[in-house]
């Protein structure tokens, strides 16, 4: 990723990112796939726990479910979650995502060559319980506690995570900041190995220009900064189109999504294209309870 140094578009505090529970929920999400991290200032509903738990409180009670085939079916993910309102200003939610990678070749070295002797699977499970609180009409905050389990052959790794987030509206602009994996716990493997993780910080800003919401965000991984842009267009009161580009200055990848709302039910489809790895397709459904 291109180093932007001090000339960051958005002057927000940015820390480091990690690669475990948060990304899995985000990668499995249907609703926010196309806009990715840009949704940090915009997410609503139970899926917001993959980006910013403060978005929990905006949606109230709901149930969501989705399925995705990533990169020409290199792997698949599933996601399901639900949230409940506690009064006018509090919401709790629970969400889980599963990633399954089958048919990974098991190979051994024979001299200077390799021979396939079988295959194995890789399974990841990420689950979070979150709490969102509206402090006033313009300001909400959220926290989430997550568990992560990763199984490869007969070995497993696990980790606990703790996330924080906030959203604030000022002069029509929505600001969002989230810090995921605050505890920076390590993934402890039954092999005895541990993978140290770091915090993931996402910060962004969005504005509704009258049916078209534009979003821009930034995230930091070590010393590199990625910038993301996205837009949500309300084509019709029941139809919303979303699109975004991640890491626009380097390894960009794009996605578009469509959200068709019918009464209390929403149908979602999202498509992503990576120049290197191919297509991603996602389908999902949301029910307002």
């Amino acid at each position: 990723m291109r180093r932007l140094g001090g000339s960051v578009i958005i002057a927000l505090m940015l820390l480091e990112s990690t690669t475990v529970a948060g990304p899995l929920l985000r990668q499995a999400s249907v609703k926010w796939h196309s806009v990715g991290v840009s949704a940090v200032s915009e997410p609503t509903g139970v899926e917001s726990m993959g980006v910013n738990p403060a978005g929990l409180v905006a949606q109230g009670q709901q149930f969501i479910s989705g399925y995705s085939s990533h990169f020409q079916n290199a792997y698949t993910t599933g996601i399901a979650g639900t949230s409940f309102s506690l009064g006018q200003s509090m919401t709790i939610g629970v969400i889980g995502a599963l990633r399954r990678i089958d048919d990974i070749p098991e190979t051994v070295s024979v001299g200077s060559s390799g021979v396939q002797v079988g295959s194995f699977a890789d399974t990841e499970l990420s689950a979070k319980v979150g709490f969102g609180l509206r402090l006033n009409p313009n300001w909400s905050v959220g926290v989430a506690l997550g568990g992560y389990n990763h199984a490869i052959t007969s070995e497993t790794g696990s980790q606990w995570t703790f996330d924080l987030g906030t959203q604030y509206v000022i002069n029509g602009f929505k600001l969002g900041v989230s810090v995921q994996n605050v505890n920076q716990g390590a993934v402890q493997w039954t092999t005895g190995h541990s993978d140290q993780t770091t915090m993931e910080v996402n910060a962004g800003i969005s504005k509704d220009w009258g049916g078209i919401t534009t979003m821009v965000s930034a995230s930091q991984e070590n010393s590199d900064i990625a910038c993301n842009i996205a837009a949500i267009i309300e084509v019709w009161e029941h139809l919303v189109i979303m699109g975004g580009v991640q890491d626009v200055f380097d390894q960009w990848s794009g996605g578009v999504g469509i959200n068709l709302s019918l009464d209390t039910t929403s149908l979602l489809y999202s498509y992503g294209q990576s120049t290197d790895l191919g297509e991603t397709h996602k389908i999902g459904v949301e029910f307002a309870l």
Partner: protein
């Protein structure tokens, strides 16, 4: 095949002699007549001195067409051919009796009106030119057990074998156990209960091989196959990535045999012996059906099946200059080398293009053998006899059946052998599935996997020298490492120490990787999954 260690294989091409005795109708047009040449041991006068009734006794209706000082050309009724030949051979003073074959201007490729013929370099070496002079007199069915065939290609549409006993009506009209197999049958997924009548090409490989064998001639479009008199039975069993199972391949071979194929083209293989595949090849042999298979494109000495079964012909590849192609597998099971470099042939959707490999060389051999068979009046040969055509010389004179036609009337051309069967030097390892284009990658894998150590190696086999870029991605699609290296033809190994481009050690989990080979002749790409588990 038998005599696998026979290093110099001699191809015998039967030029005009193979077409059978010259056949005409008599003046009444009711009885087909054939001509035979009787060679005398002394002078013709001795034979001519025989009472005329003697000839008539041997063959009623026989007449002398012409004579020279040493030969008599006799015209007889075809129905009494065998009896006449037998009797005449016993006549005192008769040294030999042989059919009088027709001669015609040969089908020089350059004389055809197919515009791309001049670009089909594999047709012009003397060896193939000799084969093209053989005049086909009947249709030979050739099964292409592969990825399917584009039935609609302008150069193949007229070349398909149609099972006229079957109609497309969702029922098994010919009661052979396969519904709607009018244009072959697909055995892809057969072992999993699938399969079906859709034999269209899902890859391009099968269409290319079919064109090498039998692309139509003189139709004014594209190029030509080696034996346009062949008719193709498409029997796919591999998917769009060129992969299938040995069980499905075996079922496809058995089907091809039962549907009347005389030669089965198997431009594929795997390095592990398969009993079910061996049974299928033996089944073919027992029915007099020849299985011709690709030796493999790994440039190694490891054997591959079905090519290495004793009852199959294993085909390696050589260039137009007759030297072995560097990618061609070489081992004692390889029977013959044929042209496999940059072969121009049919591709799906009406296209033409070049592919390289032992797959294409196999098509060339099948084309030649089927052309020879097309010149046989009947189908009455054993596998050994068919293969004998391609490699053996024999001088046993006889004229009665097809087998002996070959024996009696072959014209040995050592030149044919030079390019079709060049010496094979034994030595070196690994293998896998084939499927070739000009620039190809095969055997792509990282090892060991899962990676429990501090590093892993990417192994791959390149069909040509070039430059390889390996890119490793996390599951979010972000590239974490790029490795570029020069690549040599054949097997290559590139190591990775699990460090990302950002200097961080990659954590446990699965990554996706792309291996991209770029060479002067094109680009090939393959991808895989790698798992770190420390």
């Amino acid at each position: 095949m038998h005599c696998k260690n026979r290093i110099h294989l001699t191809i015998v091409i039967l030029v005009a002699a193979l077409v059978g005795p010259f056949m005409v109708s008599d003046a009444k047009g009711s009885e087909e007549m054939v001509e035979y040449i009787v060679k005398t041991s002394g002078s013709v006068s001795r034979i001519q001195g025989l009472p005329g009734q003697r000839l008539r006794f041997v063959a009623p209706g026989a007449s002398i067409a012409s004579t020279t000082p040493e030969y008599i050309v006799v015209k007889i009724q075809k129905s009494s051919e065998a009896e006449w030949v037998s009797g005449m051979s016993k006549v005192a003073g008769v040294e030999s009796v042989e059919p009088n074959y027709p001669v015609q201007i040969s089908d020089s490729p350059s004389a055809l009106n197919d515009p791309l013929v001049s670009n089909q370099a594999h047709l012009f070496p003397p060896t193939i030119m000799a084969a093209l002079q053989v005049v086909p007199i009947r249709v030979v069915k050739v099964a292409v057990v592969d990825t399917g065939v584009d039935h609609t290609h302008p150069d193949l549409a007229s070349q398909m074998a149609v099972n006229s006993a079957e109609t497309i009506n969702s029922s098994d009209d010919d009661r052979n156990g396969f519904i709607d197999d009018r244009y072959g049958y697909s055995f892809y997924g057969y072992s999993a209960g699938r399969g079906g009548s859709d034999t269209r090409d899902v890859h391009g490989h099968g269409t290319h091989v079919a064109g090498v064998i039998a692309a139509a001639a003189n139709n004014g479009v594209f190029g030509v196959g080696i034996n346009p008199s062949a008719r193709i039975i498409p029997v796919p069993f591999m998917d769009s990535t060129g992969r299938g199972t040995q069980f499905d391949g075996a079922a496809a071979i058995k089907y091809a045999v039962d549907m009347g194929a005389e030669i089965i083209n198997c431009s594929w293989g795997y390095y592990i012996y398969s009993g079910v595949l061996a049974d299928a090849v033996e089944y073919a042999k027992s029915r007099g059906v020849l299985v011709v298979a690709a030796a493999g494109n790994d440039g190694s000495t490891i054997t591959q099946f079905p090519a290495s079964f004793s009852s199959a012909i294993s085909v390696g590849s050589c260039g137009i200059n007759g030297t072995r192609s560097s990618f061609s597998n070489r081992n004692s099971e390889v029977d013959v080398l044929a042209y496999g470099d940059s072969i121009l042939s049919t591709l799906p959707s009406g296209q033409y293009g070049r592919m390289t490999g032992t797959s294409q060389a196999t098509g060339v051999v099948v084309g030649v053998l089927s052309r020879l068979l097309s010149a046989m009046p009947t189908r009455s040969m054993t596998v050994e006899q068919i293969t004998g055509m391609a490699r053996l010389q024999t001088n046993e004179p006889s004229v009665i059946d097809a087998r002996q036609y070959i024996a009696a009337f072959t014209i040995t051309t050592a030149d044919v052998a030079v390019a079709m069967a060049t010496p094979i030097e034994p030595s070196v390892p690994p293998v896998q599935i084939l499927s070739t284009v000009s620039t190809t990658l095969s055997k792509v894998m990282n090892f060991p996997n899962p990676v429990r150590t501090a590093s892993t190696k990417f192994g791959f086999s390149a069909s040509t020298a070039g430059r390889t870029k390996i890119r490793i991605f996390d599951l979010g699609g972000r590239c974490v490492k790029t490795i570029e290296s020069p690549t040599s033809q054949g097997d290559n190994v590139v190591s990775w120490d699990l460090m990302g481009d950002n200097g961080q050690l990659s954590g446990n989990g699965t990554y996706l990787y792309n291996v991209e080979l770029t060479s002067d002749s094109g680009m090939a790409k393959s991808r895989g999954k790698l798992t770190v588990l420390r």
